[in-house]
Symmetry: C2
Subunit: 206 residues, 2 copies
């Protein structure tokens, strides 16, 4: 595709560098920017500049934050004895959105995936070990993806932390709430039967 | 959804102001920007700033351009007696990409659509009339969408221009090249039969 303008082409190139945005979509977005007031696109550009320059990562849990310590780690009402280990920021947001979890988090920044060149050294694992040594932690919950990489990462963490004296747990795998059994995949169904719990507990927790 | 940072939230808001990008996608894109080198996002922001400030629209045909007159209007090898009227910049790019059309263009900037508050006055129609009066034009080709709005716009242009003495034509509607008849909609099939052409002509043109 030939572009009628270098400036247009450059903008399309840059937009198409984002994941899931092809050149066709990028062109549509860029033309939309030209059809709306310029100030709106100035705001967008400015917000992206701010994003990459101003945003901080919590020095304790690596969560995105406007401060050096995030609003979860600095909240005196949280249960500071429990750490929930997640892959990324979106997982923290999803769990926070439920409003049910009162402990702290630790954002690994991904999961072990040799094929993508991500080993333990690329993840925030050392800082997790450090926290467990230095803070008064009683339980660490692994809340990683139920994928091979997620499971590998959980197992790696388990090996590192099993002698630390803290309780290590993993979030339940099973049939999603509202899901029908007949549509569940086999592996999930097996796990849901293997990991069954006393009925009285389930209703208590529900 | 609660955001862990105002800066993050602002960036998500701005990205989600683009068409077809919801807040979930916007968050994914913004987090991607945080995981790649900051310079890449700086380039993106700069290219968008340049886009809205530096880009020009051709003063003859309203095409996007880096100059006051676009590279098509200023090309001495084009056939300046034919104007192809299109809705927007992408249509020009699509036709240019075929490499077969040697005439000029005129970008209307949309189509008549009362429901969206777009009447003839919002489109580049007056400048088209002016070009036809001032330039030596022998033919105007309507290449608008085959929709009710596109057809309305073509008809409006026809009414305005029919006494101008120039030949007015419209691009062929019919079965797309490579398409199978059985999947064509009824209206297209009817048009393709009504507007049939001598076989010898079709092979000549193909």
């Amino acid at each position: 595709m030939n572009y009628p303008s270098k400036i247009l082409e450059k903008a399309v190139d840059e937009m198409a560098s984002l994941p899931g945005i092809g050149r066709r979509t990028a062109l549509r977005l860029v033309l939309h920017m030209l059809s709306r007031p310029a100030s709106q696109t100035e705001n967008l550009a400015e917000s992206l500049e701010n994003l990459v320059h101003e945003i901080k990562f919590c020095e304790k849990c690596h969560m995105i934050s406007d401060e050096n310590v995030c609003h979860i780690c600095s909240n005196p009402h949280r249960d500071t004895s429990v750490i929930c280990v997640v892959e990324d920021v979106r997982d923290v947001m999803a769990i926070e959105n439920t409003g049910q979890y009162r402990g702290l988090f630790h954002v690994l920044g991904g999961r072990i995936s040799p094929i993508d060149g991500i080993g333990p050294a690329q993840l925030n694992i050392e800082s997790l070990s450090k926290r467990i040594k230095e803070e008064e932690i009683s339980e660490v919950i692994f809340a990683l993806s139920s994928t091979m990489e997620g499971d590998t990462t959980s197992f790696y963490l388990y090996k590192i932390l099993r002698d630390s004296g803290v309780k290590l747990s993993v979030i339940a795998r099973g049939i999603g709430v509202g899901d029908e059994l007949e549509y569940a995949d086999e592996a999930t169904l097996v796990r849901s039967i293997q990991n069954r719990i006393p009925y009285a507990e389930s209703t208590l927790k529900g």
